[in-house]
């Protein structure tokens, strides 16, 4: 219990003024090494953005049953709703265009184990040793427990660095941009293998990468002068971050507790930012 309290105190301390919205938004510039292919070679048969066909018998149980716990933790009905609007898709598409993420695949509510395995084998931007160990493991979990059904309970919205794919199941703009932020962060790294491994470092690895992605989403929305969306991002992303901070120390129902500091911070930040007019909107637009 003491550890939980200490963690909670640290969590609150760390969340203070965490979003660095004073920053200008800088578009991403993916790093490509000597023999790496910049684009994803997408075709009409294999487009960059794909949406799964709606299946009520899968999507509805996913929405109304399997994702309920995640909805409760994050207090967000759109988590794992398997019904992604055209608006959310366009937000992510625009974000990816701005950041030059030409090699990143996006699957909107889609289950594609064979295609994902092919992407795993072809992704030369991550060392084969990592792809066929950690990458293969994540693919196995993806294949055996389809997030198309289980999102929110087992897995959920995420960016897979081994296949270079964003998988989305929630109709939430901040969550979509957050996953895009992961892709941008990873694509810009020079030492991508090391960065992928960092994720495996307990607690600290996830905390760093999640912060980078959430921060990018918020600053992006601020650049676009979208106050309402920015406030929504605090509400939805801060509790999720809290689960990364305290989740590892609290199993099962304790995860609910883990999200509380994030909810508190999200509430505080929303109320604070609501009263502040956006200073000089517009980010850096490099011709």
């Amino acid at each position: 219990m003491r550890i939980v309290l200490l963690g909670g105190a640290l969590a609150l301390a760390s969340l203070c003024n965490c979003y660095s919205t004073a920053k200008f938004y800088t578009p991403g510039q993916p790093y490509y090494g000597q023999n790496e292919v910049p684009a994803g070679n997408f075709t009409d048969e294999d487009p960059q953005f794909e949406s799964g066909e709606p299946y009520l018998l899968i999507d509805k149980p996913g929405h109304y049953f399997f994702s309920l716990f995640a909805k409760l933790i994050l207090w967000n009905w759109s988590v794992g709703d398997h019904d992604i609007s055209q608006e959310t898709k366009e937000y992510l598409q625009n974000y990816m265009t701005l950041n030059g993420l030409t090699g990143v695949k996006v699957r909107f509510n889609q289950y594609a184990p064979v295609a994902e395995f092919m992407r795993l084998t072809r992704n030369g931007r991550v060392h084969w040793g990592l792809r066929y160990s950690l990458g293969l493991l994540s693919w196995l979990v993806y294949t055996i427990f389809p997030e198309r059904l289980f999102a929110g309970l087992i897995g959920g919205d995420h960016y897979n660095q081994y296949t270079n794919t964003i998988n989305l199941y929630s109709n939430s703009v901040p969550i979509a941009l957050h996953e895009g932020g992961h892709a941008k962060d990873f694509e810009m790294r020079v030492h991508r293998n090391a960065y992928a491994l960092l994720r495996a470092v307990p607690v600290a690895g996830a905390l760093y990468q999640e912060a980078v992605a959430s921060d990018d989403a918020v600053v992006y929305l601020r650049m676009r002068c979208e106050k309402e969306r920015e406030l929504q991002a605090y509400k939805e992303l801060a509790p999720a971050y809290g689960t990364y901070l305290l989740g590892p120390f609290l199993a099962g129902i304790g995860t609910l507790v883990a999200a509380l500091p994030g909810h508190g911070y999200g509430y505080y930040k929303r109320n604070k930012e609501k009263k502040i007019p956006l200073p000089g909107c517009g980010g850096l637009k490099v011709p």
Partner: protein, 210 residues
């Protein structure tokens, strides 16, 4: 100015091995020790300097052996840029879209007078800053001066990293802080991109209104 892709130079610090070991154990050394990636969106060739018709570049500032310098509280580090020198990056960007920067019959002469990308740390605080001063001459028009300066203040230092590692629980605060504020490398990357982006904007603006 030697700009090569490669690891950060640690060679001049006696405690290097121990420090790298500590970093490696925490995993976050992977962040702190990485090469800069301030670059234009041109892949594949390190320090690629395309010839651009109508662009003359001069650099009269003092070029050290590195792109950026981190004056750490425990050890200083020279940081190289993975994709090339400042001149190379500007050439790449102009070559990508010459119409935005160059006008027919009016050559663009760009002289980089000052470029400094540096992070200075005290024990518990750090200031990363970028300064870029250039003189832009376009055809027979009078030269224009461009100046950019921006700083980031933070608590991202070697000492805080060490304290977090020793206490272990300190990472619960420091890892999120690093994520939102950025490691020193992230900060320098950001500042470098901002400086170059601002210069390119100014160049494009001067093309539009000579």
């Amino acid at each position: 100015m030697s700009q090569e892709s490669g690891p950060v130079d640690f060679s001049f610090w006696p405690g290097t091995f121990l420090w790298r070991f500590v970093f490696a154990c925490t995993g976050v050394g992977l962040l702190s020790c990485s090469t800069l990636h301030v670059h234009a969106q041109v892949p594949a060739v390190t320090n690629f300097q395309p010839h651009v018709e109508g662009l003359l570049m001069k650099a009269s500032y003092h070029k050290g052996s590195s792109f950026a310098l981190r004056k750490g509280s425990l050890l200083p580090r020279n940081l190289v840029n993975g994709t090339g020198s400042l001149e190379a990056l500007i050439r790449q960007k102009v070559a990508q879209n010459p119409g935005a920067f160059l006008a027919a019959g009016s050559p663009l002469e760009l002289e980089i007078v000052e470029f400094e990308l540096v992070s200075k740390e005290r024990w518990l605080s750090a200031r990363s800053s970028a300064r870029l001063r250039a003189i832009v001459r376009r055809g027979t028009n009078a030269p224009r001066e461009f100046f950019f300066e921006e700083t980031i203040d933070s608590h991202v230092t070697d000492t805080v990293t060490l304290l977090s590692t020793v206490s272990l629980v300190g990472w619960l605060w420091y890892a999120p802080y690093l994520g939102f504020r950025g490691t020193i490398v992230d900060q320098l990357d950001y500042l470098g991109r901002r400086a170059i982006g601002a210069l390119l904007l100014a160049l494009a603006g001067s093309q539009a209104s000579p």
